[in-house]
């Protein structure tokens, strides 16, 4: 089918285009930056328009009330996805209908709140904005309700009309208000809207209520009471199909035809000639089109006209026959000059059971994907898109859901809802999520952890790594070494962890103490990420053991750091110097073997190439240190030999 060729809308950028220059742009999260520029790099230079404009789509996301709509419909959506495939179809249908009703009640709740706000606000433009949103939601609910009746509930002939009547009644609520007004007045029968109310009720098939209002009239006029009794009789005996009853459709049809003939006879016999209102009502009951059309103002919409017309001419209408009446009703009601609005076209497509057209036209007319995405998803679950022979059926659903969810992602808190929607798009959901979740600004650690958890749950390892790396880098820039280290560990970034460990060690040699002791003491197996990190952790452990006076353990650890080659050569001198206090204790801590090992380490260190960058002074210090160590080691050796050679008695 042909796509309607729609002219795109133009948005004007203020204070730009005066010299007919070019417009530069840049995509942003949820917006577009636009600025005046000149791409022809030569040409007159001027101050130009020194503005950068931020252009947004008309996003309903900004509205706090609609946010409730998004939140609650998200819950319904997720619940819908979880419905198991293997439930028998009859039960499924009732489940789908109830889900559809849930969606609609969420829309109505939102509408009511918007309406209240529109009434109570002082701000004129805000009130009109609310008003606009209310009418959009009204239209949405109207369409959704019709789709529910026709596509999800799939009422057969007989019930179909009843559902359509409910639909019309729900969306023409001013009748109740007027009826109340009339009944509560001092003299209902004299009220100027009296007959309007009666006729409106009849048009909606609410015969009992019509009779109730009529009775107010009857009690006044004794002489014409017989006329009213006749009308009352007609109204009372109007057959209404009962789907749960035992009467078949055929039986109902016969009964209805009898009643219809009865009404016709009353007309022929001029029973109601004395009262033009009753005459009008009788003509309505007979389904006279001209009379119905005269009630345009009370009907107010062509679809009300359609349903009323069907009520009084074809109450047993079958779904496939609906479209013929719909088209002709619309033409009759609107007349030759008026052209249908988008809403009218959408409703007509629904009556024609053209789902695809409904969805397409809704997508075009609305600027938020919420409605089409959720409705299409529901219809897809009812397996309706496939049965309409759209080979791109499920792609259509996914396309719309992806569009909706992508829009949510630009919002600072609603993006979390979007994740669930992406999860339920089997083809592209994951890759869309990967692309967009990386862009969520990591304002706080808490937010970063929230984003991380989402990625970790879905095994998005590259995104996890990237986010952790960004956080680590940021922490490092701000000199928060502990935070940088824990982020690097989480990123499993060995190179960065090494770098940060070096910084820790640098800090230690500058200040003489470690920072972030909590972190270093509790590294656990994460220590193994990088050699330098392992060394850092163990080195810190050495200091801790020393502080707790567990000297022999400390000694063993220190030695192992050198012999197991965990410590980098550059730090051996530091380690050996750390060994000095242990060597100079009264008690012998290093055993003979250990002392030999320390000595060999020292010699190994000295046999290596000298660092040519050392100044003479530094070289002096180094050689003094070495001498001190040799002395201390020798002394320790003698004491250790003696100790080990002594037999304890």
């Amino acid at each position: 089918m042909e796509e309607v060729d729609v002219e795109p809308s133009t948005t004007l950028i203020p204070s730009a285009g005066f010299h007919r220059k070019h417009l530069g742009f840049e995509w942003g999260p949820g917006d577009l930056l636009v600025y005046e520029t000149n791409y022809k790099l030569q040409g007159p230079r001027s101050a130009g328009s020194p503005f950068v404009h931020i252009v947004r789509r008309d996003e309903d996301i900004c509205s706090p009330i609609l946010r409730k709509l998004f939140n609650e419909s998200h819950l319904i959506f997720v619940g819908l996805q979880k419905i198991k495939e293997d439930i028998p179809s009859k039960n499924k249908k009732s489940q789908f209908v109830s889900i559809s009703k849930n969606y609609r009640s969420v829309i109505r709740a939102c509408m009511e709140e918007l309406q209240q706000n529109a009434v109570s606000t002082q701000n004129g433009s805000l009130a009109s904005q609310y008003g606009d949103q209310v009418s959009i939601l009204l239209a949405i609910e109207l369409i959704w309700n019709l789709c529910e009746v026709l596509f999800i509930d799939t009422a057969p002939a007989g019930s179909l009309l009843l559902h359509l009547l409910d639909w019309v009644r729900l969306h023409k609520s001013d009748v109740d208000a007027r009826a109340r007004e009339v009944l509560q007045s001092d003299s209902p029968a004299q009220h100027q809207s009296y007959w309007d109310v009666v006729i409106s009720l009849v048009l909606q098939g609410r015969t009992d209520e019509a009779r109730q209002v009529l009775s107010k009239q009857a009690s006044l006029r004794e002489e014409s009471s017989s006329v009213f009794k006749s009308m009352d009789g007609l109204l009372q005996t109007m057959p209404i199909f009962n789907p749960t009853g035992t009467q078949t459709l055929t039986e109902f049809e016969v009964k209805w035809r009898h009643w219809h003939e009865e009404c016709d006879r009353c007309l022929q016999e001029n029973t109601f000639a004395s009262n033009r209102h009753l005459e009008t009502i009788c003509k309505i009951l007979v389904g006279d089109e001209d009379t119905l059309l005269e009630q345009k103002e009370l009907l107010s919409t062509w679809y009300h006209f359609l349903v009323t017309r069907l009520l009084f001419t074809h109450p047993t209408i079958k779904p496939p026959d609906l479209h013929y009446y719909a088209q002709s009703s619309m033409n009759m009601f609107l007349g030759p000059r008026a052209s249908p609005e988008p809403l009218d076209i959408i409703l007509l497509s629904a009556f024609e059971f053209d789902l695809h057209q409904v969805i397409k036209d809704c997508s075009i007319a609305l600027n938020n994907w919420w409605f089409v995405a959720h409705l299409t998803d529901l219809l897809d679950h009812c397996k309706l898109l496939q049965s309409h022979n759209l080979h791109f059926g499920s792609n259509l659903r996914e396309f719309l859901v992806l569009e909706y969810a992508s829009g949510l992602f630009t919002h600072h808190s609603l993006w979390q809802l979007a994740v669930d929607y992406f999860d339920h798009c089997p083809e592209f959901g994951r890759v869309y999520l990967e692309l967009q979740i990386e862009r969520v600004p990591l304002d706080t650690e808490r937010k970063a952890i929230k984003v991380l958890r989402i990625c970790e749950d879905r095994q998005m390892s590259e995104q996890v790594r990237s986010i952790c790396k960004i956080m680590a880098k940021r922490a490092l820039r701000n000199n928060r070494l502990g935070s940088a280290l824990s982020w690097s560990i989480r990123a499993k970034d060995a190179a960065f962890a090494t770098l940060i460990s070096e910084r820790f060690l640098q800090d230690y040699s500058n200040k003489g103490s470690f920072t972030d002791l909590d972190l270093l003491d509790n590294l656990g197996p994460a220590m193994l990420l990088s050699d330098r990190l392992t060394f850092l952790g163990k080195y810190r452990e050495f200091h801790r053991l020393y502080g707790e006076k567990r000297f022999s353990e400390a000694a063993r650890l220190l030695l192992s750091l050198m012999t197991a080659k965990i410590a980098p050569r550059s730090l051996w001198m530091t380690l050996l110097t750390d060994a000095l206090p242990l060597l100079e204790q009264k008690e012998v801590i290093f055993s003979v073997d250990q002392t030999y090992e320390l000595m060999s380490c020292l010699e190994e260190l000295n046999s290596g190439t000298k660092d040519s960058n050392l100044t003479d002074q530094d070289e002096d210090i180094e050689s003094t240190k070495t001498e001190l160590l040799r002395l201390a080691l020798a002394r320790n050796l003698t004491m250790a030999i003696v100790k080990e050679g002594t037999i304890e008695t």
Partner: protein
């Protein structure tokens, strides 16, 4: 669409480029006034200029952010034949209080003999690599081997394109299925070399970039070029700004096992072509999910293009200057008038009287 906000950029001359950082919280602008300004978005949603400094001795054409994994790093390129790399330094506490930050130059790349027309960072999975292209027809790829030391950059590759280059675009895909790929556009009016878009691919064996494809059907000067984000597709999508907007589909052809060396061969298809600008198109750019393409043309308009689920492309919006001059006070006169968003264009029954006739506005 509506103008939500207008920021007075305060440059003393034309702005040539604006660039958002990866998270959309910072913005850099560059201008013919030879300076770059950095703007930060506060918690209140307002933009504040946190740095402004002279970067070059000529007009600055482009400015771009590196991926935040590498820290806060900017690159700029200029008419003065150089490109430069800048890093933000965490300032003193009183700077922070004043809301100012400092950027220092880490390196200047002076290899080009002519104006440097574009500068782009390569996708992050390739490391910290910077690419420039110049009017001298050379694309230069630099790498910083030590990401902690941004003053050391080495020129890894020089690709001679034989035509004056105006724009470059890296294929952002990090899939192992194909090697790194860069597209180069030329605005040369030379008719001998007719294909104005060249695509180069990295070869693991030779460790060099080799030409994989020339789009021979693009014969007019090309002003901008942009690969679309990949989204797990097996083919590549490339948008081109030339005398019209063109979108190409590049489908890698399966290699015969014998000929596994050499660049990939592509089947090139035109996905869409739009001449609505009716004039030269200067810039094209994709949004993050590659669902929307924006283009800017000589007609002074920015147009947005979108494909529906059947891959039919349509224009879904136009931005145009309203032709009004900036008034003396320096504030956009129409700010308040355009501040209120237009509601969706659907109307209900009788209530439509007096309201705008429903504009069919695609979402």
């Amino acid at each position: 669409m509506f103008v939500a906000k207008s920021i007075a950029a305060d440059h003393k001359d034309l702005i040539h480029d604006v660039s958002y950082d990866f998270h959309g919280r910072r913005m850099a602008t560059c201008s013919s006034d030879q300076s770059v300004k950095v703007w930060d978005k506060g918690d209140d949603g307002e933009w504040h200029c946190t740095a402004s400094w002279k970067t070059h001795s000529g007009s600055v054409w482009r400015v771009t952010w590196a991926h935040p994994e590498f820290g806060q790093v900017l690159a700029s390129c200029s008419f003065d034949r150089t490109a430069a790399v800048w890093e933000e330094i965490v300032g003193e506490s009183n700077d922070k209080q004043r809301g100012q930050s400092h950027w220092i130059k880490r390196t200047t790349l002076v290899d080009s003999r002519t104006s440097v027309t574009d500068v782009k960072f390569a996708p992050k999975h390739m490391g910290l690599m910077l690419t420039t292209c110049s009017a001298d027809g050379v694309v230069r790829i630099y790498e910083a081997p030590d990401v902690m030391n941004l003053s050391q950059w080495s020129l890894q590759h020089e690709i001679s394109c034989k035509l004056s280059c105006s724009c470059i675009s890296w294929n952002p895909s990090s899939s192992r299925a194909h090697p790194p790929m860069i597209a180069v556009g030329s605005d040369d009016s030379n008719v001998t070399y007719s294909g104005k878009v060249q695509i180069y691919e990295y070869n693991e064996n030779t460790r060099k970039y080799a030409k994989a494809e020339t789009l021979m059907t693009v014969t007019d000067p090309v002003h901008d070029i942009a690969f679309a984000p990949n989204l797990g597709r097996s083919f590549h999508v490339l948008a081109i700004a030339t005398k019209d907007v063109r979108i190409f589909k590049l489908i890698p052809m399966r290699r015969e096992s014998a000929n596994s060396s050499g660049p990939t061969k592509f089947e090139v298809q035109v996905m869409a072509q739009f001449d609505s600008h009716n004039s030269q198109v200067w810039r094209v750019s994709w949004n993050i999910t590659s669902t929307l393409l924006a283009s800017s043309g000589d007609d002074g308009c920015v147009r947005l293009w979108k494909a529906n689920y059947m891959d039919n492309w349509k224009c879904t919006g136009i931005l145009r200057g309203d032709g009004s001059p900036v008034n003396g006070s320096g504030h956009a006169a129409a700010l308040s008038a355009v501040g209120v968003p237009a509601a969706a264009q659907m109307v209900v029954g009788a209530a439509s009287a007096g309201r705008k006739k429903a504009q069919l506005m695609p979402g």
